[in-house]
Symmetry: D2
Subunit: 493 residues, 4 copies
């Protein structure tokens, strides 16, 4: 497994196809540093003695090669793998104070593993074999991937073919003996500018006549015909203050401008039913990843709130305890239902394990409904300081430094320098462009609560509890007692 | 395993020590019928072909006798047993539309199994052996038990010995060579008037000098010196309308009036540390039971809301879907974290499995915080009819029946008789003394959200996320990364 | 102004047309006592020296006769009248611990005062004159009225004429030179069995071809052709414990069985546009009444919660303060916006004052959304005792009384008899069929939060803030700044 | 009244005592532009024909000079003045999309008007005369002021004199015949770098021995001894996109470094009781200002959400209507209770009107509890675009512009340029450092919900509803009915 230096070196060698604020730049552009530091951390923890105890969590044995690989590149072979993925996600997010950036890769590869097998079974295609050939190299190279799913969508109520411009959903515009030509744009492609591969999949259920939009493939992130228009936010905190990283976000609007994809990288092409399933499967895996990362985000906010309470000297105040408990309950409800999702997973015919739909969705929905409230709690306990505090330069300037040292003193058990560090970090965490990004991501990343509601109502048979109600009401139904949501006990327990 | 007829016959033979509204009555008193019907259902499902598929859930193999027993009398020997208990609870609650009434028995016996072993280990006593001797007979007899934990407590801020009357917490007032004499009163003893045994345990943590209050024992519910002052609520719904039962509640204030308990039934006596632990253990097991019964209660309310939507002809309204989704998320978050509690259980030295503290408590707290809101949702969808509707007699009376048949017609797909049944049941469920009881029980049964908050904050090390925060903020802590809430993956998976 | 004895005597003389649980009874039937005691209180306060200071609030000067009348029979002649009505409502509700029962009368008469004038202006009819003639006698007699608005409605998505039975909305089936014949049923007619007059109005907006259903009239509550099927709930609390009343509810399904109404009592007949307006006007006045009664209900729950805290000895606990503050904020937000509704009222051409639509609706909606949560707070602070406590008879019985006196002792500053009184009243208030009725009424009485949302969105021009947004976003709109919700400052201030 | 050009010119002439990120700058520094544009708007609206209709709202007649003045410099002489202030605040906030920045001035001058009079009455001092002399010049000059209240406070649980450094609360360190010397630092001084005067008042209740900290005065914002360390955030949006302003925030940590204040500007010095009252009075007036500005902020978020719905083509979706209604109810509940606060104001002996404590506080608390949720609603309706969208430069760049024009097209009724404008503005509004500042300000500005809770519980007599409860429960209290929160009807109505 490679080091983060090798990861950075690889990025440096890529074709510059990154557009930031109107400039074409390469991957060494400073504003990408925050996002690169995050991905780098997923390599570093493997080699870091502090994380040796989590070796079985952070790595896995490839079912293709039998080699030890970074778990972010692994296909889940058991419920235990799903549990380990959840743990890995929580642990690594803790190191960067937010999104770890590699879930899109693991979730899209697992979804492709199931969908390509399904297509082959139904249509006699060879997608799964192609996919595994690519995956083998991907694992051997210890490479990184993101996922490009969300189309720009044009007018929301219209279907792809109804748009004034059919490219508003990415589509196949031509096929040759060597591959396909695609055109369109995908948005919200998190970490796309700092990974090597982009896995492209459909954004929604497709109708039988929407075959041109039923396209899935993988492509190098710097391939010809791929242009990334990037929004990157890295909190601006000074050396020695705040996160060692720093860590930040980077999202692409990825343009596929008549882009050629060779057949060996095409994983679906025209199979609308499987394409629909693939869209849902990625969402499902991704929501299971959220059962690891959202608790981690809440852990970070819990830690931040506890730190603010310490700095302000109000650790024992009853309302602080009450609010910390609220945060903890949010993280544990989400993580606990993530465990239930893994325990109630099933083995797909491809051999890949798929988590329980209901638990993944209720967990993600609960997290999504609470994210703004969690920031509210942090702001409440922090007081106004993170929003109006002096800037880094004021701590450096000879004129103002003495005032800072005199007037920023708070809880006498906390060094004034650490008071500053604490506030500066909480400012970055909760009062910055980056915090806005985390808030939006908390609502919409992986699908908003409304999307989860749709998934929940699709997976839940309301007639079952209604039948229970009718029996209790003395209404004749002719139907015996039955209830879907009891779960199977794993044979092994 | 016995039938419910045998269960009823046994109750009939018990000493009349039931006081209801100032009258001394026996256990055939009509107002107890609702509660008896509930317990009877736990016997009936065993012999009912409709539930044959749930045989492994509803019964278990005794670790003492190797015989097949009702799972409500079983000591958990594995995580799978805890999962099965959760399922059994949800299934049986569905049959009665609410609390199934036997959790207090299973939870107190499991807690005693752990605590008696712990006491013997530490103090060289023989409690565990006594307990198992009693349990063996209890299982062989297929008997029922409740639990008497909550003392009347007098002035809340005062400890037991500080009360003006030391009996405000149940205590040992004398010991003889044959047993102990106890005095005091326990309240909120659900189902005490309709079971055979009462398991008595301490209500709270005890200090070393509070040995007189560190007493645990079991006693026949009609023993000399035991008097039950009973509050019983059974919804008043007519024959043919509403629940076939009917099902209702019955709670005792149980008076121990210088009551003698033979040593063979004494399971703790003076060991304040183990007594404290026992109080917490029962609460823990009971909260795990809530991860089965509270989802079931929500399922019943979900079914009721869906039924009301059907009757009112508004099944497709977006706000109805939205509200049903809310209910479903509440039940699945609670049940899912209950699964996580079982999966993260540990084997106690006694061999009994103990569920995870955190997941049990976040689940119960979430349920407790939502119960009134769930009734709100039902009322919202039902409209005002359940609260102002004509009474059963008006449907029978020749004068008013024609008006009822004419004016109660709603969704033409629903027979007007079933409209009446549906509304009458929802009235019983949500607009009756019984619904008030269920609301209070939803908040306080098994410990209120505030109690769970205390348990959560006691079990959670806030320093861990705070350390994560400090590392991210660049504050030197000297402590490596560490986090408590990642869970162990079961070896078997 | 008459005494409550005269009020009771009048009821005794009425034709028995009350059906309760299948029996035809007169108005002296005991189960109606709770509701009668409430209406009686509105007469008693007038003559009670304790309320002398509120004389100007509780009474008003008739604009028809110049005589001093009970304000419940007054037509609002100023914003100050609306403010006084709000106060009167809050004060009188305090005396009975809930709904005061006469708002339906005052709100329907005010709505009729506006609508009849509107009809005459538009159609040259004589409704207003008839209405005022009736009102004059009504005021002179110091009589009581309720309002029958809600039709049974059959299948909700269908309009009146689409129902399988056109009578599912009350309608005119014949007209003669003397009057009209009506048929149908109105539900949720609160206090109908204990008042003298029923004001009947349409339930919803009507289309031009729905003239048969555009009917408004007043009728004696015991007229031929009127039959009341009554649901009455009075909390069962013993003499000397709990509310001196007792106070309770009584709601009718009122059947109009080919009922004759003389022209002098017909206030609309076929004018669908004015009928629609009348339906909305009553709702508006009634929601303004809720800005008085709902705060009062919250005051009662606040007082109950504070009393429970005192009894339990936890008055100083921070979470108790927090929860009391929540209750207080709910009542004051509702009452404050009610004041704003009065201050922003307008004088209708009829001379009657009409409160502001927006403030009435946001206030009522806020109350409706919070009612279950308020009961939750009370249950939380009370603990489980109100739900499982011994019954009145157990306090009287010689056998159990000593146990009660010994074990119900709590806060030593509170006499044990008062502990019992407090718990018994809170049981009646929050754990009884009556509390279920109050919860449903809290959601649906006067229109549920969903109805208020519809009224709010109908009265609010979203284009106005959207235009503000566009201007700020730099989007050319060609529209100047404008905003509807600034309010007029009363000239007098 | 002056123009905004004159306002800007005055700022240019001020002594450079602004420190931003370590640099000493003058008031023409670009990063202050956002805040200056806001204050400028308060001058511009006076001279803008579009706002002619609001002339009586935006201006007032000085009670000192009889001249027409900007209402932001007026002392409230009636309830109508308070209503007009509320309106002015809402109107002007609409123009800048957030905080209008001059409330601190009007609220501190009104509070000083009351407190100085109170001190003179009690102590025979001459503060009020001094204050009015200053105010007269202030009004004549059409000047601006902010308020410096919040001390840095050091360790929160300690009182001023207990701090390791007594300067952690601003205090008098010396007095001379000409004036006083003060030392300390005030934080969260919003708009301090862009106004001419700073009104300094105590931050909290003071004990009799804390006279050194009982100091109130006014001082030019660029006086010797005053240094401002400034945090300024202006959203970065390109010319032609987004707010014409742009508008932004600027907050100072204001250092008083042995700063001299002449007696003519000292308004309290040592009177701890009046100083305590002054702290509360400013908070009260400021919370009343929030009943104007917070609804305006919600109006802006409502408009933004409606605009996003339009852009996304989902204006008719039921969940959008539901969420807009939620926002509208939040603004109208706050504004409505603000009206009630004005109507229930009282005339202080100084002649100045003081709004009702309870309504000001429940309104501000409700707003503070909802602010994060409002941003949540906006993010929900907007979708992820505002958080990951390309930057301004990408719209200008020839390489990327064609992609933007092609792929940003949404609702075909909205020009793609306006789509960009809309998203760019919503990004600035909800996903930027400035939005973080607005969120923190929404919680803490004017005192956080916890502060309001304290004020509410201090102003509310819980014994009153408890007495109502006891009467209803049949508990003898000997106290007659009484209730504080009924309000007085203004004589004029």
């Amino acid at each position: 497994m490679i080091t983060s230096s090798e990861y950075r070196a690889r990025l440096s060698r890529m074709r510059p196809n990154i557009h930031i604020d109107g400039k074409l730049v390469d991957r060494d552009f400073p504003r990408l540093e925050g996002a690169k530091n995050i991905i780098a951390k997923t390599y570093d923890v493997i080699h870091n003695a502090e994380f040796k105890q989590y070796e079985d969590v952070l790595t896995a044995t490839s079912h293709l090669t039998g080699q030890r690989i970074n778990r972010f590149n692994h296909i889940h072979q058991s419920a235990a793998d799903l549990l380990a993925k959840q743990k890995m996600t929580r642990i690594t997010c803790h190191q960067v104070g937010g999104c770890i950036g590699r879930c899109m890769g693991i979730d899209s590869t697992n979804a492709l593993s199931v969908a390509t097998y399904m297509a082959d079974l139904k249509y006699g295609t060879e997608y799964h074999q192609r996919f595994e050939a690519w995956l083998r190299r991907f694992q051997e190279n210890d490479a990184t991937a993101c996922c490009a799913q969300t189309d720009v969508k044009g007018n929301r109520p219209w279907r792809p073919g109804e748009q004034l411009d059919p490219d508003l959903y990415l589509r196949v515009v031509d096929k040759t003996k060597d591959g396909v030509i695609v055109r369109g744009a995908k948005v919200h492609n998190s970490f796309a500018p700092v990974v090597e591969w982009i896995n492209v999949i459909p954004t929604r259920r497709l109708m039988p006549d929407e075959g041109d939009w039923a396209i899935a493939f993988t492509i190098p992130a710097d391939a010809e015909g791929v242009e990334q228009i990037v929004s990157a936010a890295t909190p601006d905190i000074p050396e020695g203050y705040g996160m060692a990283g720093p860590f930040g976000g980077a999202d692409s609007m990825t343009i596929f401008d008549n882009c050629f994809v060779p057949w060996e990288h095409v994983f679906l092409c025209g199979e609308t039913d499987v394409g629909s399933m693939l869209a849902l499967l990625f969402a499902l895996y991704h929501r299971h990843s959220y059962t690891g990362c959202k608790p981690a985000m809440t852990d970070v906010l819990t830690g931040a709130a506890a730190l603010m309470a310490e700095v302000n000297g109000i650790e024992k105040a009853p309302h602080v305890t009450e609010k910390l408990a609220e945060l903890i309950c949010t993280s544990e409800l989400c993580y606990g239902t993530g465990i239930a999702a893994a325990i109630n997973s099933h083995r797909d015919p491809s051999g890949t394990y798929v988590p329980d739909i209901m638990y993944c969705n209720v967990s993600r929905r609960h997290a999504g409904l609470n994210i703004y409230h969690e920031y509210d709690i942090l702001a409440d306990i922090a007081g106004g300081m993170p929003s109006t505090m002096p800037r880094p330069g004021d701590w450096v300037s000879e004129e103002t430094r003495p005032f800072m040292e005199k007037y920023m003193a708070r809880n006498p058990k906390v060094d004034v320098q650490d008071v500053m560090r604490a506030f500066a970090w909480v400012q970055a965490l909760s009062c910055s462009e980056w915090s806005g990004l985390m808030q939006y991501a908390g609502v919409h990343g992986g699908g908003s609560p409304r999307m989860e509601q749709i998934a929940i109502m699709g997976a839940y048979d309301v007639e079952k509890p209604k039948n229970i109600a009718k029996r209790l009401a003395g209404i004749e139904t002719g139907k015996p007692y039955s209830f879907d949501r009891l779960g199977e006990t794993p044979q092994e327990l």
